[in-house]
């Protein structure tokens, strides 16, 4: 079958290749190993509600715990966590059980969802790390919820200080805020490019950058992303497609999934995933005279919400804004099986998108899927339907 408007053949982007190498080597990347060689500690974190700046300010390299980048047999994950937990948490646990994260000095999680909190529980029992901390994450955006979350972040900081035997100064926190905000601003620049009719970067390529963003030192990430943005400014690469798509849903780390959609002519211009916009979206806003911890905690609870938060319309409205800003023709909902928060949201989100005339393709997937087989067939049919609507 001939695919019209296939994405143009890309001119190599050297810095993108470096990001790919980080992802390929993860979790035992050169940067992580180097950080430890120099005596630095490396902490794993789960979920976007864990404030990385606190760890960074203490000189710790925070890396996001993710699972295998491909769909894998999860014998150990199934045995230890049962098959009805999402394949993301089972995949992470299996990597942990098999020693892939042996280098971690600490594990930090939030009470974000059933899978994450049980993954943390089992990690403590079967894998263990010298430091472990769980933050209670409120599910509301009220001032009382902010107060509680602020206290949780303060407790986390105090626990960390006790573990390290050193204080984390406000100055260090301010510096970390700057570093992380720089990453967020650069990612926003990258996403601005995707608003173009023919963006210079594809959705799959963007996912390589996103994956690297939580797997390497932020300072280095910022340097590389600045270079990549410069390269993208110079390149003649222009990606076009049969329809502009946005992917929403739970966690995703395999760029092959997006690549398989783009290979069929879908142009992925936006995303709303645990590992994409919901990770980097909002900056920490440090008001005059405000304590850095207060600013950090406010940002993390107010950030682009996960489906766990109530009311869900906060998330839906942000998705609708992205649909408008990125001129999205259709939305692909990819929900990892047994990821219940997103599964519950789907009927309501579908209604909201229907009201603005945007169709939804709902895919139940396993974490790490490359989007082959039946998924390809369904994507093909979805793209044909979107094209027919344009005519």
């Amino acid at each position: 079958m001939v695919i019209k408007d296939k994405p143009s053949t890309s001119v190599p982007l050297p810095t993108l290749e470096r990001f790919r190498q980080v992802n390929y080597a993860f979790p035992k990347t050169e940067q992580i190993l180097e950080h430890q060689r120099q005596g630095g500690k490396v902490f794993g974190w789960l979920c976007t509600y864990v404030p990385e700046e606190i760890m960074h300010a203490a000189g710790i390299l925070p890396v996001r715990v993710t699972g295998y980048s491909q769909e894998m047999e999860l014998e150990d994950g199934n045995a230890y966590m049962y098959i009805n937990n999402c394949s993301f948490s089972r995949s992470c646990l299996q990597m942990g059980l098999r020693g892939e994260y042996q280098f971690l000095d600490g594990m930090v999680a939030g009470s974000t969802c059933d899978g994450a909190r049980r993954l943390f529980d089992l990690w403590q029992y079967y894998i263990k790390t010298p430091f472990a901390h769980m933050l209670t994450i409120p599910r509301k955006f009220t001032e009382k919820a902010h107060d509680l979350y602020y206290q949780q972040v303060v407790q986390f900081q105090e626990h960390l200080e006790e573990f390290l035997g050193q204080q984390i100064a406000d100055e260090q926190l301010r510096h970390s805020i700057e570093v992380f905000n720089r990453a967020r601003a650069l990612l926003r620049q990258l996403y601005e490019l995707r608003k173009a009719d023919a963006p210079p970067i594809s959705g799959a390529e963007t996912m390589e950058v996103l994956n690297a963003s939580f797997r390497m030192p932020k300072e280095l990430f910022n340097q590389w992303l600045e270079k990549l943005l410069a390269e993208l400014g110079r390149t003649g690469n222009r990606h076009q497609g049969r329809a502009r798509l946005m992917v929403v849903g739970s966690v995703m780390n395999n760029p092959e999934f997006v690549k398989s959609i783009e290979a069929q002519g879908g142009l992925m211009v936006a995303d709303e995933l645990c590992t994409s916009t919901r990770y980097w979206s909002d900056p920490v806003v440090l008001e005059e005279g405000q304590s850095p911890v207060a600013a950090i905690s406010r940002r993390y609870l107010n950030n682009f919400p996960c489906a766990r938060m109530v009311p869900s319309d906060e998330r839906f409205n942000r998705i609708l804004n992205l649909v408008k800003d990125f001129k999205v023709d259709g939305v692909i909902s990819q929900i990892i099986r047994y990821c219940v928060p997103y599964a519950h949201d789907l009927p309501l989100l579908r209604d909201r998108l229907k009201e603005v005339g945007v169709p939804v393709l709902a895919l139940d997937v396993e974490y790490g899927t490359s989007g082959s087989g039946q998924i390809q067939t369904r994507v093909q049919a979805f793209l044909e339907m979107l094209e027919a609507r344009k005519r």
């Binding site: 909190r117 409120p138 009927p347």
Partner: protein, 423 residues
């Protein structure tokens, strides 16, 4: 059938079933009096729900482990959503219809079946329309996410009660403030004011109720154990539906006295008692009869259910009713083993249960819709194996009988009993 009749049909059928069982129990001189009180409590609960709108009352639907003490104190009629789905499964069958309706709404099979069934039941219009939906994250993502769709289906307002995951002074205060906000919401929506004296009375009874639960738990340690397998569901339901209510107290006091008398006489729920089981999670509702039957056939009795019937040691203070309602949330057995951080304390409690109740084996009902409990299957098995307690795991669904057949489950249980015999 009118829309109003359709809405009441399932509830009417539950009431009819309960009344028939009540009459049968009354007519049977050997039936425990507690059974009569239990089924009367059920039929009264659903009768209040059925008649609520005709009597000008406000109905609040709420998820499991919700502090319905507050609703009773405000003279609001509660509708326990998960239990109502269970009761439909237990008494009426016909789960397929409501689960299909849930699927048509777009709810995938991975979502807990009581929640899919509930949404389906509302979309079919076979339950009374609630005037408000109340839900919380105690006990899982399914409860946390089930409220908004129910609100949309019923075009009613709702309130989400945010339960902090861990316990600290700040988290306890947050929960109390959430309860205050919820009371304001209910006062505004229902026009009914909180009766604080009434809430204090309920808390006082709730405090006594938790004592009764503990006393019953102690009596079940006896060899032979006096408590029948089918009683497990009753112990859950009494707190789910009528916490701190006089009918709950009457039932539990009667049950306690009956069990105490059996212990005094050296009588067991099954005779002879051969195997003492620990039950982890809940057997399928539609197989409660099978569990009772197998118990008698094989001399098997469930003596402890650490996830559901083992209340934490703490007291409630009627002079601080709201703080007490918040404290109760931390005392419920499910909070410690299913929801909260699974620390060493919870695991030690499992071992203590096995030892104190002289358990021969454990059965883990791996309900496929309950992810966070299933995530502990291996962990609990490892912990119990350390004290030489074998664990049988059975995949199941608590309301959907299509997941596995009665014969298949019977076969697995029989094999397990043979293994216990060999030991």
């Amino acid at each position: 059938m009118t829309a109003s009749e359709a809405r009441s049909s399932r509830i009417s059928a539950i009431i009819r079933a309960c009344r028939i069982i009540t009459r049968m129990s009354q007519a049977n001189p050997d039936a425990p009096k507690s059974d009569v009180l239990y089924y009367k409590m059920l039929s009264d609960y659903y009768t209040r729900l059925l008649n609520a709108h005709d009597e000008g009352k406000f109905i609040a639907a709420h998820t499991v482990f919700f502090p319905s003490e507050i609703l009773y104190a405000m003279d609001i009629v509660p509708m326990h959503t998960e239990t109502t789905t269970w009761m439909m499964a237990l008494f009426l069958g016909g789960q397929a219809e409501i689960l299909s309706a849930g699927a048509e709404l777009g709810l995938v099979p991975e979502i807990c079946s009581p929640h899919r069934g509930l949404a389906g039941a509302f979309s079919l219009g076979v339950l009374p329309r609630p005037d408000a939906m109340l839900w919380s994250n105690l006990i899982c993502d399914n409860t946390a996410k089930s409220g908004e769709l129910v609100m949309e289906l019923n075009k009613c307002p709702g309130f989400f009660l945010d339960h902090p995951f861990q316990r600290s002074e700040a988290e306890d205060k947050y929960l109390v403030s959430e309860l205050e906000d919820m009371i304001h919401f209910l006062e505004e929506k229902s026009g009914r004011m909180m009766d604080w004296d009434k809430l204090s009375d309920i808390v006082a009874r709730m405090d006594y109720q938790t004592e009764l639960f503990r006393e019953i738990g102690e009596l079940r340690k006896a060899v032979p154990s006096p408590f029948p397998n089918r009683g497990f569901l009753q112990l859950l339901t009494v707190d789910y539906l009528c916490p701190g209510q006089p009918e709950a107290i009457a039932y539990l006091e009667t049950l306690r006295d009956e069990l105490a008398e059996m212990v005094r006489q050296g009588k067991g729920a099954v005779s002879p008692e051969r195997f003492r089981l620990m039950t982890l999670f809940v057997p399928p509702m539609y197989l409660m009869g099978l569990m009772e039957k197998l118990g008698h056939e094989y001399g098997v009795v469930s003596v402890v259910e650490p996830l559901f019937t083992r209340w934490a040691e703490s007291r409630l203070d009627p002079s601080k009713p709201l703080e007490s309602v918040a404290r109760k949330a931390a005392m419920i057995p499910e909070r410690r083993s299913m929801y909260g951080p699974l620390g060493q304390e919870a695991l030690q409690d499992l071992i203590d249960c096995a030892e104190q109740y002289k358990v021969d084996g454990a059965v883990y009902w791996a309900f496929m819709g309950c992810r966070h409990t299933c995530a502990t299957v291996k962990l609990f098995k490892d912990v119990l194996n350390e004290v030489d307690v074998p664990v049988l795991t059975i995949d199941c669904d608590i309301v959907d009988p299509t997941i596995n057949s009665e014969e298949e489950i019977r076969g697995k249980l029989e094999q397990f009993f043979e293994l216990l015999e060999d030991r």
